[in-house]
Amino acid sequence: MTPAGASGTTSVGALSPYRVVDFSTSRAWLTGRMLADLGADVLKVEPPGGDPGRRAPPFADDEPNPETNLRWWVSNRGKRGLTLDLDQADGVALARRLLADADVMIESFDPAHLAERSLGYDDLRELNPRLVVTSITPFGQTGPHANYSGPDLVLSATGGPMWLTGDVDRPPVRVSVPQYEMHGAAEGAVATAIALYHAAATGQGQHVDVSCQLAAIRTIMNASSFPYLEGGELSRQGREIPYGHAKFRMLYPCKDGHVSVLLMGGALGAMIVKALLGWINEEQGVPEWLAEVDWLNIDFAELNKDEEGRAFFGKVSTAIEAFFVTRTKAELYAEALARRFLLAPVNTVADIRVDEQLAARDFFVEVDHPERDGPVAYPGPWVKLSATPLIAGARAPRVGEHNRDVYEGEIGLASDELLALHAKGVV
């Protein structure tokens, strides 16, 4: 069995028998990493000189360098790295040798890029009928927008999340760091696993065509068909979220930042509000009108629909906010856990890094970086499988790091052949 990643980890992953040749551009780096985490032997193929995506910040120590690109690091861990020039015939021939015996190919070029190089799905099916070819692009392989350019901002816009997010008096916003290409990439992992399951059972590969725009639509929960069921559009509401025609306030300031609370009445929410108000009462008392509210028989969704109800809701949330601003995120969360009311701190990445729950589950894992002074703590396993745990992959490969291992050791090129390809700039 081929170990996943260069570290030689010996655990058996759920996908350990499979080889993945990963031609992805940065928008789909995540797909191959998820498969590598599950034990697949993933060969990341870059153009000579390195993947263009390595050039975008952020970099370790803020020093621009293709070997210290942090998105590269986190998205290509556990893969082995090859270089190969698809713009040269010898490079295409070499790619075909890699793919002849592979189980999966991942790519995220603009549609037609590979077909122009005789590496389209029809070419590859003839070469290796059981190969699963997964293409991940902003809008999919076919259709009037197939060749449109779709970075994260455009996906957030055209997939629907942006319309629903932001302050009412300013233009809508995306999440401030890229998300929706990664949704497409993760969807690509699901679809690849499904197609691989089929190919391994039947010997029949296929072409998997993923649209990041469609993956973005799925993130808007229950909104996508709202006008067709109820009439009217759901729209952004600042710190509140629309829930049908009602809206709920999600965010409150506190002493050192913000917290998120879902205040609801009825069977689902009464216990939770009562637990929160019970605490406030112990600490500083609550006004009589607030203590007397019959939370069990309040339907917050109904309440939020009219002026009177909204005024009442505003009064409740003002009273609660006045208490929250006297407490820190950590104090509020500790009490929410003890008393079981529904609240979470609006965490920063710094808060997350020291979270005791994540620590108890060994979420952050140290990855050796021989080129640095010490290991680096990475966000780690996303699922715990009892029989086939995720593989703790080695750091992402340097440019061409495994060329010799793979091209000579596994594909069977002679040393002088590899040297000749190197001289021509193919690898």
Partner: protein
């Protein structure tokens, strides 16, 4: 249509509820598995109480939200507080290949249905347990929803404008990350089982899965000490990068997103604008030059876009300038690309009639998958499941009904 389905013959017992579990099971259902979904009028899924409702009328069988997340599945009405109801649940464990559940961790154990107990009955079982923060650790039993988890997971902090309070991302955001990670792991575990016969237990923390989407930012903090925060639509990589007003669409405000990630994109935008004098400032030929005058640039572009019809502007910009309309929900349904992909699927629901549902985001050329039906009404398929899948006779089913262990309703 059903002869070449990847998971044809695979049996799935979906005891999960709300978002992540049902959406994960829907992948298996859409690709041909027989999925039995737990349901109950006594303890209904909160999605049954959530909008959108047909014609805006709340009703346990009138929620498209539930019917979407449980499309392609059969529904059994079962009372798990009733010992006979739990017996049926165990019969389904014996029947199934895959079990999904999303209770707090102690719940299944309290019913004698921990993985270790269930494995004794069904050694090849693949069981996915998904809860907010995982099966272990000090906060394992804390309940929640994905919109609260999105705060904990760092997503609200980085959403909104730099000079203002954060705003929530719409929806239970972490659910829609977790479902993809859960489904990938589950299918991989099924592949392992097919080859080795070995089942296993999957413990997926929605918190940990969601954090995969902030991998770069977590590493940037670890290595550089930088704490990611919100900055509207600004980017470190692209300028101009924002949304700009267009003529109204369906009588309301409308916007076009434009992201110039390269100097070539900027030159293409200049061309699209007719290369006006203001845009020829040579300092704006580089990213850093444009970034230094971002507000001024944004004002000029907004003045230009404001007179455009959204569709015409899109065609004037793409494919040379990365751009796209900020779609409202009707805009999604009318987008020519989304229509071409056949994403929204109209299905007939037993009580709601014909409604649109979210379809598949990937197209598999040989085994395309499909939504075979809208989600069930409560108890709609109880009889079929007990009789056809579990092989119970009329007397047995009658006893269960008499004991109120099962519900046969709807339909």
């Amino acid at each position: 249509m059903t002869t070449d389905q990847v998971f044809e013959g695979l049996k799935v017992w979906d005891m999960s509820w709300v978002g992540v579990g049902p959406l994960t099971a829907r992948y298996l259902a859409d690709y041909g598995a027989t999925v039995v979904r737990l349901d109950s009028t006594i303890r209904p899924d909160v999605l049954r109480l959530g909008p959108p409702f047909r014609d805006g009328v709340p009703g346990i069988n009138n929620s498209q939200f539930y019917a979407d997340y449980n499309a392609s599945k059969l529904g059994i009405g079962l009372d798990l507080m009733n010992p006979l109801g739990r017996e049926v649940a165990l019969r389904l464990v014996d029947w199934c290949d895959v079990l999904l559940e999303s209770f707090t961790p102690k719940t299944m154990a309290n019913w004698g249905m921990s993985y270790h107990e269930l494995r004794e009955r069904n050694p090849g079982l693949v069981m996915l347990s998904t809860c907010m923060q995982g099966q272990t650790g000090p906060r394992k039993d804390y309940r929640g929803f994905g919109n609260i988890m999105a705060a904990l997971g760092g997503f609200y902090e980085i959403c909104g404008y730099a000079d203002r309070d954060p705003v929530p991302v719409y929806g239970a955001y972490t659910d829609f990350v977790s479902q993809r990670f859960a489904a990938t792991a589950l299918v991989a575990a099924l592949d392992h089982r097919r080859r080795t016969g070995e089942g296993q237990h999957l413990d997926l923390s929605q918190y940990e899965a969601a954090l995969q989407m902030l991998g770069t930012e977590l590493l940037d903090y670890e290595v550089n000490g930088r704490v990611a925060t919100r900055r509207g639509n600004r980017s470190d990589l692209a300028c101009p990068h924002g949304v700009y007003p267009t003529l109204p669409v369906r009588d309301h405000e409308a916007w076009m997103a434009i992201a110039c990630e390269t100097d070539d994109h900027w030159l293409a935008l200049r061309r699209a604008m007719g290369d006006p004098d203001w845009a020829r400032d040579p300092t704006w030929l580089t990213f850093l030059g444009r970034k230094s005058a971002e507000e001024e640039l944004d004002q000029h572009i907004a003045a230009w876009t404001a007179g455009w019809d959204q569709n015409e502007l899109l065609k004037a910009l793409q494919p040379d300038v990365p751009a796209g309309p900020v779609h409202d929900q009707t805009g999604l349904h009318e987008d020519e690309q989304i229509v071409h992909r056949g994403y929204f699927v109209t299905l007939e629901h037993t009580e709601m009639g014909a409604c649109p549902y979210d379809g598949l985001q990937a197209t598999l050329s040989r085994t395309p998958g499909r939504l075979s039906k809208a989600g069930p009404c409560v108890g709609e398929d109880t009889y079929t499941i007990l009789s056809d899948l579990l092989g119970m006779d009329e007397d047995e089913i009658g006893d269960l009904l008499a004991a109120e262990a099962v519900e046969i309703t709807g339909g």
